[in-house]
Each structure stands twice: as structure tokens, then as C-alpha cells.
């Protein structure tokens, strides 16, 4: 199973909306997201910055949150999405 990361911000409303959807997906499928808050955790922020080229290319040229990152395939999806879209993305190999 791929290593999936969710970069999120504590005061980001999109992230707040996505967190329960991610948790619902985790419960239903066994998929696990490593959730990394980036505005209050410098280590997490530095990890996201280190992926700037890859993430920004898919996210309007910026480091936006929420961002979903597949550490194995380097695939990126950012923003608020429906459960089914997140599931399809997460299940991609």
C-alpha cells in the first residue's frame, strides 16, 4: 500500500471539512493517511516545502492545503473533494 500524506492547516476550513471525510475513508477501507499539520509544526512545513516543485505544479503554483500526496508515486491532489473522488485517488496504485 502506498504511503499517503495529507498536508493540512489547523485554521483552514477546507481542511476541517476534509479531515472527517479522510477518517471515514480510513475506517471503511483500511487506507491510512499520515496527517501533517503545516502551520503549527515546522517539521511538517519543511517536508511540504521540500516537495514544493511537485505539489505547486498541481496546485495553482502554490503550496495549498489540504494537499494529498502519494509518497511512492509522487501523485498530488489538492483542495476539498468528495468522498468518492478521494477514495479513487487513494486507491490508485
Amino acid at each position: 500500500m502506498s504511503r499517503l500524506i495529507m498536508f493540512h492547516g489547523r485554521e483552514c476550513p477546507h481542511c476541517r471539512k476534509m479531515l472527517p471525510i479522510v477518517e471515514e475513508l480510513e475506517k471503511a477501507t483500511g487506507i491510512v493517511f499520515d496527517k501533517k499539520e503545516v502551520w503549527h509544526n515546522e517539521e511538517n512545513a519543511n517536508l511540504m516545502r521540500s516537495l514544493r516543485e511537485t505539489i505547486a505544479a498541481k496546485c495553482g503554483g502554490q503550496l495549498r492545503v489540504p494537499t494529498f500526496f502519494n509518497a511512492d508515486s509522487q501523485d498530488v491532489m489538492c483542495g476539498e473533494v468528495e468522498y468518492e473522488k478521494l477514495k479513487a485517488w487513494a486507491e490508485k496504485t
Partner: protein
């Protein structure tokens, strides 16, 4: 990026930041009244202490006034606005400027100026040309006709 400077009106002490001073001071209406000053002097003239004096209520009033003559408005969803303003002020307290809580600062100052709220969102793909356009974080939404 063009280097901007600070300018102070020698009549009423208004402070302007830009590549050139205003020809007419918008406050006292005196022509050719601006002299270039350093950033430290500009800050002192403006009366800002290290923590600043611009409250959340001040910011809320400022963005309402900013949006009023434009084609966008502050999001009517009060809960969302409260969350965002909280994040914006957390970022100012922790990182120095009112960075958008829905993007991450890169530590490249010029680049990060692009995510200071309000940002230039009308040029972004989440707003431009979209009937239900909004800025990335959703603080501003296109005004309904």
C-alpha cells in the same frame, strides 16, 4: 519585482508604500508633499508597536470596506470567516504577516507576499471567470447579482 519604498507626507504624516509617491496626498490634499523615508521611520510614524495595533475587528471592518466597491464580498458564512480570521492572526503572530491559512509560506519573502490576505485572488483560477468564484480559502466570494 520592482523595489518599493516608503514615503511620508511632510504636512499630515500620511505614509505611502510604492515605487513613487502620490502626486496629491489623499488625506491633506497637498501636492508634492511626500518625502522618502526608511522602513523603521515609516513604522514609527504609523505608531505600530511590535505587536501591532490592528485588531481582528479592525481587520474585519477593513475587508468589508475593501470588498464593498468590488464585485466580491466577504463570505456570508460567519463560521468560516471566524475560522479564517483566527488563522490569519495566528499566522501574523507566529510568522510576521497575515498569511493565508489555506496555503503554506515558502520562506521566500517575495513569493510569500503573494499569500498575504487579501491576496490577488481575482486572477486565480478559483475565481476568475467563475460565477461562483471564490478565493482559495473562501474568505471572499463573488457577489451574487
Amino acid at each position: 519585482m520592482v523595489k518599493k519604498k516608503f514615503w511620508r507626507c511632510y504636512v499630515c504624516n500620511d505614509v505611502h508604500c510604492g515605487v513613487a509617491p502620490p502626486e496629491v496626498c489623499p488625506t491633506c490634499k497637498v501636492r508634492h508633499a511626500y518625502v522618502e523615508v526608511g522602513a523603521a521611520e515609516a513604522r514609527r510614524v504609523l505608531g505600530f508597536g511590535p505587536e501591532g495595533t490592528f485588531s481582528r475587528d479592525d481587520f474585519r471592518r477593513a475587508i468589508e470596506a475593501f470588498a464593498a466597491p468590488n464585485e466580491f464580498q466577504v463570505n456570508p458564512n460567519e463560521e468560516r470567516v471566524a475560522t479564517l480570521i483566527n488563522g490569519i492572526f495566528e499566522n501574523e503572530r507566529n510568522h510576521g504577516l497575515k498569511y493565508c491559512p489555506c496555503r503554506l509560506w515558502t520562506k521566500d519573502f517575495e513569493e510569500d507576499l503573494k499569500i498575504v490576505c487579501p491576496c490577488n485572488f481575482p486572477t486565480h483560477e478559483t475565481y476568475k471567470g467563475l460565477p461562483n468564484g471564490e478565493c482559495w480559502c473562501g474568505l471572499f466570494v463573488r457577489r451574487k447579482a
